[in-house]
């Protein structure tokens, strides 16, 4: 991703830099570090934790996701489609008399309307969540760092990306050190 300032950082070997990765030992330490990074005004950064930490989105200044809105819209779309499908198939395309009921009897269409609404909503919440997260993405610069793999176990990380406009190798490292990181390293692209 191009930097706002146009400056590209590379390692001594000439590899482009993805960012700086800092490790923390406890959720509390990470939480406070996140507040520091947020207050320093960074925008292209993230924290990595083995489990969702309560209140982390506030500490990071993340806005609430719009996902539930999308799910609600798709739920209504699914329900509407289901109702139209039943109306058209039972009442328009090939009306057949069953059980003396009217061809298009909306009361009898309620269960399937509901079920398909739920089905659409469920697919939207899973696929929408993955899409907003940019997943599936099986390769990522962070995975190259063996230390980073502990984020799925018991370690807590902050990564500030080099594409952030405020990124500066020395100042960013100093900020993370001040925030109490137990180890800091560069991540190559």
């Amino acid at each position: 991703m191009p930097r706002a300032t146009g400056k590209v950082y590379v390692t001594e070997k000439g590899e482009a830099i993805h960012g700086i990765l800092a490790e923390f030992a406890t959720p509390a330490a990470l939480y406070h570090a996140a507040e520091h990074v947020r207050d320093a005004g960074y925008s292209k950064w993230d924290t990595f934790t083995p489990f969702p930490i309560h209140g982390m989105e506030d500490a990071m200044g993340v806005k609430r996701t719009k996902l539930p809105v999308a799910v609600a819209l798709m739920a209504f779309a699914g329900a509407g489609l289901a109702f139209l499908m039943q109306h058209w198939m039972a009442g328009v395309d090939y009306p057949l008399m069953h059980q003396g009921k009217p061809y298009s009897s909306w009361q009898a269409f309620v269960p399937i309307t509901f079920e398909l609404g739920v089905l659409f909503a469920a697919f939207t919440s899973l696929i929408g969540m993955l899409a907003l997260n940019g997943l599936p993405r099986w390769h990522h610069p962070l995975f190259k760092k063996e230390r980073f793999l502990a984020s799925s176990d018991d370690r807590f990380f902050v990564c500030i990306e080099a594409c952030d406009g405020k990124f500066d190798p020395d100042a960013t490292r100093a900020l993370l050190e001040k925030a109490g990181a137990t180890s800091i390293e560069l991540v190559e692209e």
């Binding site: 030992a25 406890t26 959720p27 509390a28 330490a29 990470l30 939480y31 996140a34 993230d46 924290t47 990595f48 934790t49 083995p50 489990f51 969702p52 930490i53 309560h54 209140g55 982390m56 989105e57 990071m60 993340v62 609430r64 996701t65 996902l67 539930p68 799910v71 739920a75 198939m89 039972a90 057949l96 059980q99 269409f109 269960p111 399937i112 509901f114 079920e115 398909l116 739920v118 089905l119 909503a121 469920a122 919440s125 899973l126 969540m129 993955l130 907003l132 997260n133 997943l135 599936p136 993405r137 099986w138 990522h140 962070l142 995975f143 793999l149 984020s151 799925s152 176990d153 018991d154």
Partner: protein, 517 residues
């Protein structure tokens, strides 16, 4: 309050391997060490026992999928696999020969097929109840049991979906259940509850699967990372998949778990959307789980047959489904926690006690439904309805009826005693009774209503054949086999969720966490 050093400091040192595990400051007196509830409100028993660290939780739970399976696993998997194969063989025989090989006759034209269907789909309900409704109610104890209960749900739905699929007579036409354009240009009858059932069960199976999969994504990523780490530490070693074939198990694990984990990298921005999506799924699954068994019950309730034509059916079926489902969760988890090392740290006696209480409650709900059916049969003044219920209790199928009553209504009453509802053996035995009772409930509803309907000249009895019996027994084998595979290859507990409910997971964790924040 105390002179302990700050817990963050203790945890930091401990995680860095600089100090041994500290003695728990309070946990010794919270509960009796087995996680059961105690009388002092305000002191909450821990959800994970033995003061585990995050790393230990990862090691123990991933160990179930990474270590060699226990000695009993292979014989068990072989026996249940054979049972599942037997089911397949008898289904093949049924398809080739026709459903006349079942004990069905002109009067009893639905029997074990639909009994088994309702039995299995009912069992599935506990999984979604635990994962969805208890999630919305913020019941943190659900984290220990939700993954296995969700797995159980999916396996039960697989068993359930088999029966309506094979009972249609011409099984190769079963695709016509779905609104797919066909040569006759006609569509399925959307005004029939049997079609609602098709949509309800397939939606339920799909949504349960999505819920289960989404919950597993982070834990699959944990398994992926552990395999990856072992590969990096030892690029040329590690166990081989098969002797003489140079494919290493960890390489396969990293690929398969890695593929399924969709590249999850534990980002907090991702967690934020993940939690929102999880909550939304829980929110939509809650009405879904209530709707599915309600719709199943309309298969019966919208007919005019005495014994079926009642408005109490939807809530009565839902309560029965939850009742039978929790019994099955307990049937699976109580042996598992005895057989697997350290599982008792996650599934504590408190969890069993909570589920026993749910059995007691839902058992009384079905007991109320049984008595209310009887009352309305008398109070409604319809002689056919009244006869149907007299025939259930005192007719030729009296033994099935009283099996149902003693298993479902009487046996859970033992859970009023705290000693009994905290003894795993007792809970296990009662769960066996409840499972038997819930199968008989469906048998009683279906067969006793059909076998003596309006015309006495048509009255008859149902006698199961070997094909009936073998397909049902085979479905028990299929269910158990799938569950054994789950225990062997997938994360049995939600690792991330369990860590999130441990006390040290709070960013404000400090020593006096019992005194309020």
């Amino acid at each position: 309050m105390t002179t302990h050093p700050h817990p963050d400091e203790i945890t930091a040192k401990r995680l860095a391997g600089l100090s041994p595990a500290p003695k728990p400051p309070h946990h010794g007196d919270a509960g009796h060490g087995d996680g059961t509830l105690i009388d002092t409100p305000g002191i909450r028993p821990p959800l994970v026992l033995n003061n585990r660290t995050f790393g230990e939780v990862t090691d123990i739970i991933c160990g179930y999928a990474e270590n060699k399976p226990p000695r009993w696993w292979h014989p068990m998997a072989a026996i249940t696999g054979l049972m599942a194969t037997m089911m397949g063989a008898f289904i093949l025989y049924l398809v080739i020969t026709g459903i006349g090989t079942w004990g069905l006759n002109n009067q009893v034209d639905w029997a074990w097929d639909i009994t088994n269907f309702v039995f299995w789909i009912g069992i599935g309900h506990a999984g979604t109840l635990i994962s969805a409704i208890l999630c919305l109610l913020k019941q943190k104890w659900r984290t220990a049991v939700n993954r296995s209960a969700e797995a159980m749900t999916i396996f039960a739905v697989i068993c359930a979906a088999t029966f309506p699929g094979i009972h249609v007579g011409r099984q190769w036409m079963a695709w016509m259940l779905f609104p797919i354009p066909n040569a006759n240009a006609i569509w399925p009858n959307f005004r029939s509850p049997l079609l609602w059932d098709v949509f309800a069960v397939s939606t339920y199976g799909t949504v349960s699967f999505l819920f289960w999969f989404m919950g597993m994504v982070p834990d699959l990523a944990t398994l992926r990372d552990r395999a990856d780490k072992r590969l990096r530490a030892n690029p040329d070693g590690g166990a081989l998949l098969l002797p003489f074939i140079p494919v290493r198990i960890d390489a396969i694990r990293a690929k398969v778990y890695g593929f399924l984990a969709v590249g999850w990298r534990f980002s907090s921005r991702h967690w934020h959307r993940y939690e929102a999506a999880y909550l939304v799924l829980a929110g939509i699954s809650t009405p879904l789980v209530l709707s599915v068994h309600s719709i199943v019950s309309t298969d019966f309730a919208t007919s005019i047959l005495p014994g079926w034509h009642t408005t109490i059916f939807p809530p009565y079926f839902v309560a029965g489904a939850i009742f039978g489902g929790f019994a099955m969760v307990l049937l699976l988890l109580i042996p598992a926690r005895e057989l697997y090392p350290n599982m008792k740290d996650f599934v504590t006696t408190r969890h069993l006690e909570n589920m026993a209480k749910i059995l007691l409650l839902t058992g009384m709900m079905v007991g109320f439904a049984y008595s209310m059916e009887f009352f309305i049969a008398w109070y409604g003044g319809n002689e056919y309805e009244l006869y149907c219920f007299q025939n259930r209790a005192f007719g030729p199928y009296w033994w099935a009826y009283w099996t149902m009553i003693s298993c479902n209504v009487i046996s859970p009453q033992l859970f009023w005693f705290k000693k009994l509802r905290t003894t795993p053996m007792v809970i296990f035995i009662i769960s066996v009774f409840v499972t038997i009772g819930m199968w008989f409930e469906r048998f009683v509803i279906i067969v006793t209503s059909l076998h003596r309907a309006f015309l006495p000249g048509e009255w008859g009895m149902f006698h199961p054949t070997a094909v009936d019996i073998c397909i049902f027994v085979g479905s028990l084998g299929l269910f158990t086999h799938l569950f054994l595979l789950f225990l062997r290859f997938l994360p049995v507990f939600p690792i991330a969720e369990i860590k999130a409910v441990m006390p040290q997971a709070s960013p404000h964790h400090h020593d006096d966490h019992q005194g309020g924040h």
